[in-house]
Amino acid sequence: MNSNIRNRLLIILVLVAASVWALWPRTITIRERNPKTGEFHDTTRTRVPLKRGLDLQGGMYLALEVDDSKQAVQDKGEAIDRALKVVRNRIDEFGVSEPVVQKVGNDRIVVELPGIDDRSRAEALVQSSAFLQFQIADKTQALDKALGRLDGVVKQLGGTTLAAASKDTAKGASPLNLFSAADSGKAKNDSSKGDTNTVTATGGPFSRLIQSGQMPGEYLVAKNDVPTLQGYLDRKEVQAALPPGKALHWGSEDVSTGAASYTTLYLVDARPIITGEYLTDAKPGNDPTEGNYVSFTLNNEGGRRFRTETGKHIGDYMAIVLDDRVMGRPPVIQSAIGTRGQITMRGSGLQKTQDLALVLRAGALPVPLKIVESRTIGSSLGADSIRDGMHAGIAGVALVVLIMLFYYRFSGMLAVSALVLYVLFTMALLAGLEATLTLPGLAGLVLSVGIAVDANVLIFERIREEMVHGKTMRAAIDEGFKHAMSAIIDSNVTTVLTALVLFEVGTGPVKGFAVTLMAGIAASMVSSIFVVRTFFLLWLNRTRGAQTLSI
């Protein structure tokens, strides 16, 4: 019997040591980005290896899918794999500690950014296509020549109110016209209706919104008119009437003359002289006169192309177009440019410059992504949750301890001391499984304290019954444990079964609940049964032939 006890104590000791080791604060290395300089550096931190969920430490959760609303994507699975790589690169360079970027199912990317609660920034970082093109600004005044035609088309569409215009086309697509694919035909059909609308515009509904800028291909649009003009440009009919072989892009910078503020609009050659696929590096920089800029480097092939193309266009203006927006004012090409260039970011802050360099470096997204689910939890809310959870946990456990001590006295004390080990084991299991502790997880932990105690209640009640039957102390304890086992196992199995289902179904926080509950049950099997039994054996050994037990 003595060696039995010794073995039991040894096992408990080993378990405790393993748990303490699993939970021992350790130093981990995190790559972090200095928010000021944008440079990476490795920092080491010492902390308990228990992962906290986003709901406890604050952060962002994003689920992304391929956005095929604008263009059809053939192989979504393949596209999402390539997108995953790009998103992962970007997130890695973003400098969040312990981010999660993973594919879920066949068509979804899940991104978790602990500690980040700047929603718009993170979303832009993940979603921006970062499609870079270099396009030559138009110098043939093609738009000016097309203005008459554009005015006509807009007039035909029904004047200044877009709603009216769209209604008209809806009518235009009457059964008669269903089979005429040509947009112009539709527009013509509508013209009789359009003419009846009295449009009192000076200089045409389209051309009066636009005035020439200071360089070839540049136009200015009053800020208030931007939505109206965009409305026109979204129309197929208007697109068809734009100068062929050219593309219109909004500029990133506003121009103000006097009180009026204008947004720039550029007409450029539709064919880019080069795209961002040849880019090998991009770095943020700062220049006293130019402001912030992103300097980039092209690979050899890209450099060669760039050199020949720019050589052909000396004296022209070159627009640097990122995601269909012209960055800065297009610079004039002084001489052939090789592998290096830069994008000036005059108006933008340092952070934006850094983010641009980052997405350029990480590469363009092969397909547009849309956010299908997003959660942001502020870090202060997370701290509140931890505090609330702790308070509830402490109060709950205190009540349980009181009940147990009050009702079972000495034996209750044994159960309560086993509870300390129970909490230790559960935490260690969570750390060992690299599970995430979430707010519902804390609830699971508190709840499983109740379940752990239930096992002891079952055992103690059995021991009492055996004592009433007049068994010796030792026999009563033995029988008590034996008889309670089947009930304990049954009740734990049913709980584990439901927890497993929850784990399968739940998202982050609820998964955390399921894991904690299961870890808690596993730990309680050890603490409530094995540990408490050992305590009893120790007690029996000390008080040989004891006739009473405080239970």
């Binding site: 609303s69 929603r119 979303e123 979603q127 956010i371 299908v372 689910e373 997003s374 959660r375 939890i377 502020g378 202060s380 809310l381 949750s385 609330d388 308070h391 509830a392 109060a395 709950g396 456990v397 009540l399 009940i403 147990m404 009702y407 707010l439 519902p440 804390l442 609830a443 508190v446 709840l447 109740g450 379940i451 239930d454 209640v457 079952l458 009640e461 034996k482 008889h483 309670a484 086992m485 009930a487 304990i488 196992i489 049954d490 009740s491 049913t494 709980t495 079964l497 439901t498 927890a499 289902v501 929850l502 399968e504 179904v505 739940g506 998202t507 609820v510 399921a514 509950l517 239970i551």
Partner: protein
């Protein structure tokens, strides 16, 4: 030795008519109400946007509402969340959700912009945002239904393997009763069906089943020990014998849940409430539903005459409990 409810001899089963009426009076109106007006679902299931905002000083709720109305955010619901500084803005209108063309988060951006415009950026902080697209919500709904079904099937399979079928059927019906009662309770409390609440229901299923199992475990044992006693008496005896354990276990679990409900914060409260009710209904059904049902089943489909012990010994206890006891 402190004892409560020791050696009681209460005839629980005699009360089955009364308790049936009581429980039907609780469940049926709830189910009818659900059939008429349905549940309130969280945005996790319907899609939509929730934003938890903390204002620097208590705002005028009407003001917040009109600001959002003017910004064109359809049917936004504004509720106080904890203190009078914290508010929950919920945009769940199905039309608005369908229009999240630019991605699930677009409404959140609109809400924040509208509030910033009206109150200024420093007047409030966004504590939490959740935006769920309609597709994700639909998926989760299917998953949640499967979850409840599967956990039900799993426990059923376990019971079938663990107990003789009569016990299993009684336990399953008792559990079904608990689920229905909880569903009615959720309606009465007007709780929102969220993933956390579904988690509460599932945990409740496991928990209430525990109770029934523990009583049935005792019934099985008593049947083996005293084969001459009628089933009616055996059932009553078993319930009485397990009464101290039931009271004590429920007291401890109830205490932890109460702490969670009162101190655990707004997010966990619905879970704690569902579980608290689960403890009540689980206790009720394991005493007043499962044993009378078992009795009814045994009378309807009696086991072979010599079979009391034989039938139960097929499903031997795992813990190695001795089948015979020399007395």
């Amino acid at each position: 030795m402190l004892r409560i409810l020791h050696d009681t001899k209460i005839d629980f089963i005699r009360l089955w008519k009364v308790t049936t009426v009581v429980t039907l009076l609780f469940i049926l109106p709830g189910l009818i109400w659900i059939a008429v007006s349905g549940y309130k679902y969280s945005i996790e299931f319907t899609g939509g946007t929730v934003m938890q905002v903390q204002f620097a000083k208590a705002p005028n709720v009407g003001d917040v509402r009109s600001t959002l109305d003017q910004a064109g955010i359809k049917g936004a619901e504004i509720t106080q969340f904890g203190t009078d500084l914290d508010y929950l803005i919920r945009a769940q209108d199905p039309r608005a959700v369908a229009q999240q063309s630019r991605g699930a988060e677009s409404i959140a951006t609109e809400i924040q912009a509208a509030l910033t415009k009206r109150f200024g950026a420093s007047a409030f902080t966004v504590q939490r945002t959740e935006a769920v697209g309609p597709k994700v919500g639909g998926e989760l709904k299917t998953k949640a239904i499967y979850a409840v079904l599967f956990s039900f099937l799993f426990t059923l399979a376990y019971l079938a393997w663990r107990f003789e079928w009569r016990f299993g059927v009684a336990a399953v019906i008792a559990t079904a009763h608990d689920i229905l009662a909880t569903l009615a309770y959720i309606k009465y409390e007007n709780l929102e069906i969220s993933l956390v609440v579904v988690g509460g229901i599932l945990t409740m299923i496991g928990y209430s089943l525990n109770d029934t199992i523990i009583i049935f475990d005792r019934v099985r044992e008593n049947l083996r020990k005293r084969q001459k006693v009628s089933l009616y008496d055996t059932l009553n005896r078993s319930v009485n014998e397990t009464l101290p354990r039931s009271v004590l276990t429920h007291a401890t679990v109830f205490a932890t849940l109460l702490a969670l409900a009162l101190l655990g914060g707004e997010v966990l409260r619905p879970f704690a409430l569902v579980m608290l009710f689960g403890v009540v209904t689980g206790t009720f059904s394991s005493i007043y539903v499962a044993p009378p049902l078992l009795l009814w089943i045994e009378r309807k489909w009696p086991r072979p005459v010599e079979g009391g012990a034989a039938a139960t010994s097929r499903s031997r206890t795992r813990g190695g409990a001795p089948v015979t006891m020399s007395r």
